[in-house]
Amino acid sequence: MSSIATTRIQRELKDIKESNNQSIKIELKSDEFNNLRGEIVGPSGTPYQDGMYKLSIKIPETYPFNPPIVSFDTRIWHPNISSVTGAICLDILKDQWAAALTLRTVLLSLQALLSAAEPDDPQDAVVAKQYKDNQKAFVKTARFWAQYYANAPGPRDTDCVEKLRKASEMGFYKDISLQALSTHSWDLENAIQYLTSC
């Protein structure tokens, strides 16, 4: 790893500690400076509110001249984040990266992305379609995922809990059942049909 990348990461970790922002966290995964773990809190007023989202951050050799490679480890239902892989579609992580941006600004941008999705530039086409066509189902799903995967507090939607229980009682894995139910906007029959066909 180049010395400029290492010294910059050290510097950034120090700045984040001093900034005292409770809603973002970054720490080293090991002694290596090219592999970090981030965490953001879901912003209030969104379905992700108070969820804890873990991020994997890989620092390229050429950092900060090229962007860090960031993805969600915690599963999330959002038009610009893959519900399967956690890959993120965000311009500053691609061609709009600038060398003066930091991991802190990246994490703050991700929080902003959770507050304001961009469904016209989607990463997950299924989620983006639901976001546009069935906003109610989208909010219900995103909130349930936040509680199920990101430990967001609050009572869970009983309809979601019930249908997920039914699907898993039929012998399907919970994660796969939740994915199928979410994709079919909580239509149990369609979800089961989909699960049995593949």
């Binding site: 910059r8 510097r11 001249f65 090229n66 941006l101």
Partner: protein, 173 residues
């Protein structure tokens, strides 16, 4: 690099305004963009090399480039360091003419240009002259427009004429 004052005091919050916007350390070989953002020249150079098709300030995305930054010279900062040891070279500071000298600027410029081309043109001449004439101390090829030069031209033409005549004579006979 390490003996420069102010390099290692990054713990002082007051020094952050002189930190490079790319490496976040105290700027070395500092340059400032027209939009007012401070960088180490090596850091900015690498950024410009990374994005050759999009020369934008890493902070505010204003247009930026090698000719759109000004080097900053602090007191005794890097004046005592051989600039050739620095790669890539930092762009030169410019010294625009003062207002009241604008009238004479074009003429002066022309004069400079003339002097420069004369100097370059004369150089190899003098160089070869001194190379070939170490022993006899007299230039082998006299400079043009001297009587000596013209004499030699006439003599060489005479010899050429004689040679052609001799060959023609041999051929005929």
């Amino acid at each position: 690099m390490t003996d420069e004052p102010g390099t290692s005091n990054s713990s002082q919050p007051s020094s952050t305004q002189f930190e490079c916007n790319i490496c976040l350390d105290t700027a070395k070989d500092a340059v400032i963009s027209y939009c007012g953002h401070l960088f180490c020249w090596p850091c900015l150079h690498q950024w410009l090399e990374t994005r050759p098709n999009r020369q934008e300030c890493p902070v505010c995305k204003a247009g930026i480039g090698k000719d759109k930054v000004v080097p900053l010279y602090g007191r005794g900062s890097s004046n005592n360091v051989d600039p050739r040891e620095k790669l890539p070279p930092r762009p030169q500071a410019q010294r625009p003419a003062a207002e009241n000298r604008n009238m004479g600027w074009n003429g002066l410029n022309l004069g400079d240009g003339f002097q420069m081309s004369f100097g370059i043109g004369a150089f190899p001449f003098g160089f070869f002259g001194s190379m070939f004439n170490v022993n006899d101390g007299r230039p082998r090829t006299p400079p043009p427009d001297t009587p000596q030069y013209q004499d030699e031209q006439v003599i060489s033409k005479v010899f050429l004429f004689v040679a052609i005549f001799m060959m023609f004579w041999l051929f005929v006979s």
